[in-house]
Symmetry: C2
Subunit: 355 residues, 2 copies
């Protein structure tokens, strides 16, 4: 049996990633910043994703999103299910796995749990935008929505705005708000938490940074509540009245050409003729590279919306794989010990087929 | 920590699959037969594959091919690299991995080595065609090419034509022919093997079933060698002169609409205006279901060409996963033990991020 033909890969569970410090917004923001620049430099292959929808009414689906980081010599795929009816059963909506392969010989190098990466990526893109667009001395952050994406957003925003002192949260139930505050207080002991008693306005008014992370399809966020000088990260679907975007001084997207064909508030406005291409200030990469200005005054209201770019997910997954591996986490698995017909037992195994 | 939110999956290496009898052409032929019918019945989702080519000159690439088996409630993806320059380094050209997810909640259930499945599938499609199209009492099988795909074809053909007694093989070198004969004699002790001394004609003349499994891009196979009443399985690219197809009484494809847009011999003939849609007798599924006749006389020459249908790969991978699991192979891996923020150690782990 020729060791020449052995192929091994590393498997990393969510706990392997978490226990080796991969819930690290700073590492992920650096990976996101770097890969956005690489994409602009033509060093990323990013084909159209494949969507398989199993139920049109519930939108249960599995998406397949590959991307290649040419400079890293890594090609990866995010395999992610979105099953909205899971939530009513107390189960998670989104579940992801990544496979990473090297592109010297095309061999797989890692399989890793991907829900952590996928959810962190959402927060990280908001935080990367906030780094350039939120008030420098942001003190108050307000949330509509209290799920995993809200939590990831809070951790990520703290990484770029350590000045944050107070977090207000509103959710569908007070129990959810309390749970958010209790869990997050443990992770952010230097912050103060206030629950809003299901009143969105209480969570949002006075917020320097506001985040809507909800699956509600209704204009919960009112423009009157958004104070001058604030930064808004929209991460749901349609949860803000059109007036919020209209009163914003700048609108920034991760990728406007993609955003405009989806179903978020900005997409709806575009389709309704209430938003034009020229109303969009920039894509995030142009802010990151300085090609377009970020915040220019203390009074600007700035609106950020991301649809998700899977090459960013792959870049963050790669950073997690490297850190977790360096720190000895996960297990090394044989993909194959040799080529099929080189196995000394192959005749016996083939003979076993029917038994 | 809530066990409700634990997600586990099974990992199966090539050796896990081989040692539990998954190198089983009969099992795979049944899976292929069944999934072809399911596809025709509208019970398969089969989106367009994603191809990422890293080098246009060498065609090094990774393809991403998902499919859903609705009746089995399984959505899977074949993640497969094809790196032709590997061969000169003594490494395998093709390397594959499968991820299978259930579509009740969208959770992954298995990650399995996929080169075995992918290579077996090629042989199995040839054998499923041969079952309906090869001479009933086939005695002699001849090969041009002696690699893994040739070996898989031999094992698969034996499953549908146990009357095969003699195998002749030609390759680029006599050493390759000898290796093929030695290895296959162990797996097929009831068969006789003859090496052709690199003379394709010797391997092919008198063959009831002939197989070309070579990466050569030249018309190695001559029409004059193909005897009346034979069945030809073409599994390379362009390795037979156009006259072979022209003198065939029936041409059958796995999927002609796909074949005609590729680069195989039939595709070249189609593009050159030397083959019309009406020259194609049937797609394989129509032969399998009896919608179109298979072999109708002892004198017919029948030509079969397959490009590969990834939903067949997913169906065979599922059959392998089920058998190997039932037989206790592989390891059960935690994808996650709970949802991210439910982990009792989450604050500590988050604190470790920078360290």
């Amino acid at each position: 049996m020729s060791a020449l033909h052995a192929i091994k890969l590393r498997y990393l569970s969510q706990e392997d990633l978490l226990s080796t410090g991969c819930l690290d917004p700073i590492m992920a923001i650096e990976a996101a910043d770097s890969v956005l620049r690489a994409y602009q430099g033509g060093r990323i292959m990013f084909p159209e994703k494949i969507v398989q929808i199993f139920d049109e009414s519930t939108q249960e689906r599995i998406n397949c999103l590959p991307a290649t980081l040419l400079d890293e010599k890594i090609c990866g795929v995010k395999w992610v299910s979105v099953f909205p009816p899971n939530v009513a059963e107390g189960l998670q909506n989104l579940t992801a796995v990544f496979v990473l392969s090297e592109i010297e010989h095309g061999f797989p190098v890692a399989v890793l749990e991907g829900t952590l990466c996928s959810n962190l990526r959402v927060g990280v893109m908001g935080a990367l935008a906030a780094k350039h667009l939120a008030p420098k001395d942001s003190r108050v952050i307000g949330f509509i929505g209290s799920g995993e994406q809200a939590k990831m957003h809070l951790l990520s925003m703290r990484a770029v705005r350590p000045s944050l002192e107070l977090c207000r949260v509103s959710a569908k139930t007070e129990a959810e708000e309390e749970q958010f505050a209790e869990e997050m207080a443990l992770l952010c002991p230097d912050m103060q938490f206030e629950v809003a008693g299901c009143r969105s306005e209480v969570a949002i008014k006075d917020a320097d940074i506001l985040v809507t992370a909800t699956s509600a399809q209704a204009p919960l966020l009112k423009a009157d509540w958004v104070k001058p000088g604030s930064f808004y990260s929209h991460i749901g679907g349609w949860e803000d009245e059109f007036e919020v975007a209209k009163r914003s001084d700048k609108i920034v997207c991760d990728d406007w050409e993609t955003v405009k064909h989806r179903t978020q508030t900005l997409s709806r406005m575009y389709k309704a003729g209430e938003l034009k291409d020229s109303d969009i200030h920039a894509d995030l990469v142009d802010i990151v590279t300085g090609a377009k200005p970020g915040r220019e005054s203390d009074e600007e209201r700035i609106y950020f919306n991301a649809v998700g770019l899977a090459y960013v997910d792959v870049a963050i997954a790669l950073a997690m794989f490297r850190r977790a591996s360096e720190r000895g986490a996960g297990i090394e698995l044989d993909l194959q010990k040799s080529m099929i017909f080189e196995h000394p037992q192959i005749a016996e195994w083939y003979g076993n087929a029917g038994s």
